[in-house]
Point group: C2
Chain length 218, copies 2
Amino acid sequence: MISHAEENYLKAIFKISEKEAKAASTNAIAAELQTTAASVTDMLKRLAEKNLIAYEKYRGVELSGEGNRLATALIRKHRLWEVFLVEKLGFAWDEVHDLAEQLEHVQGDDLVDRLDNFLGHPKFDPHGDPIPDAQGRWAFRPQSLLATLKPGDRGVVTGVDDHSAAFLQYLDQLGLTLGAQLELIERIPYDQSLRIRTQDGREITLSEKVGHNLFVKI
Amino acid sequence: MISHAEENYLKAIFKISEKEAKAASTNAIAAELQTTAASVTDMLKRLAEKNLIAYEKYRGVELSGEGNRLATALIRKHRLWEVFLVEKLGFAWDEVHDLAEQLEHVQGDDLVDRLDNFLGHPKFDPHGDPIPDAQGRWAFRPQSLLATLKPGDRGVVTGVDDHSAAFLQYLDQLGLTLGAQLELIERIPYDQSLRIRTQDGREITLSEKVGHNLFVKI
DNA sequence: AATAATTTTTAGACTTGCCTAAAAATATTT
DNA sequence: AAATATTTTTAGGCAAGTCTAAAAATTATT
Ligand SMILES: [Mn+2]
Ligand SMILES: [Mn+2]
Ligand SMILES: [Mn+2]
Ligand SMILES: [Mn+2]
């Protein structure tokens, strides 16, 4: 059996490895889980003992095959519950993460697969993140950071890199939710601000920071 | 804050008090939660400290106002999730209890009320048990144990007292699910067995035990 | 290469929740 | 009322998971 805490560590290691493409460090894991390096070391020993990670002292960790399988299943559950909360219960996309963080730990034979079926096998969650299927396969969808567009390029909002409520609410306010169309008018040389035109013809200026946290499909 | 374990104790005390109408004993709580009397005593001290129960050594416990409120909210969550699992995900009524046992602990502002709304404000769960509303008010529906009917009485199945999978599956097999109509033909004097006629004209003999675990509305 | 800075691990302690065995209190029987 | 049986509490201990402070290892700088 695997505890909630262990599951959370596996997911954290998965996410770090996804970005960094090298062994996850103790400090990175501590930051991701908002805990201390000492607690992380304790847990890494336990996870290594269970063969869920490959752990070398001072060298960071990588998930084992089984660890990877478990982390993927957890992410699948998390994202499916987020879809449920938004599509069926009417929550906003900035309200669902903490609830999904709890729901992902519910254990049950075909609960996830039945949920998946009920939701119509969604491929992406409310933040545009891909949902692995029952076999752990990931959907792929080409997308670029808004910051990489060139003036004149048109795109559709497909996801976010920053998942904070503050950012998501700001996007709501701007009308830049998933599926929103936009066109890059120009990039201001002084501070890399981005002037864009929205579907309904409004012109908006976005900071460089926004440009680096918003994904669009060209 | 209140832990999962504490919530489970409050619910257990509520259920015992509901049946017995007097202070719940340490042993009764231990039996309900399948734990030891010593563990129960430990927890009762903690709950008393938090003013969730009135606890007198050797005299059993009763829920405080706040304890009652929390236990009611927990039962509401448990039963609403059971409705979701059966109505929306297509689980059988004998498969949902353990899942609801986990889902009831998910904490979130209006999660329960949104779920309630999504489900259309059901008043009873898949086992016929009443679901308290957001204010903690219980629906009442008059019903009698099948064993109390007299020959010639007709009734509709409205609930079960025994919630075990074995009993629920047996009822499925007999076609005696919620809403099924039946008529008591006779009670066998020798062993109090009950001969009944179902909607579709079948004659079935049920043990005294079944008669004491099946609720019907006359 | 030596020193300084940073990262990681160890040591020791705390909380929650559980357990078994023994002692104390209460209830039942004789 | 005394003896016996049952229930409940206490005592002591264990595992998971967390923390702070200190030690050890690694990395960066001079
Ligand atoms: Mn999330
Ligand atoms: Mn998400
Ligand atoms: Mn149940
Ligand atoms: Mn139920």
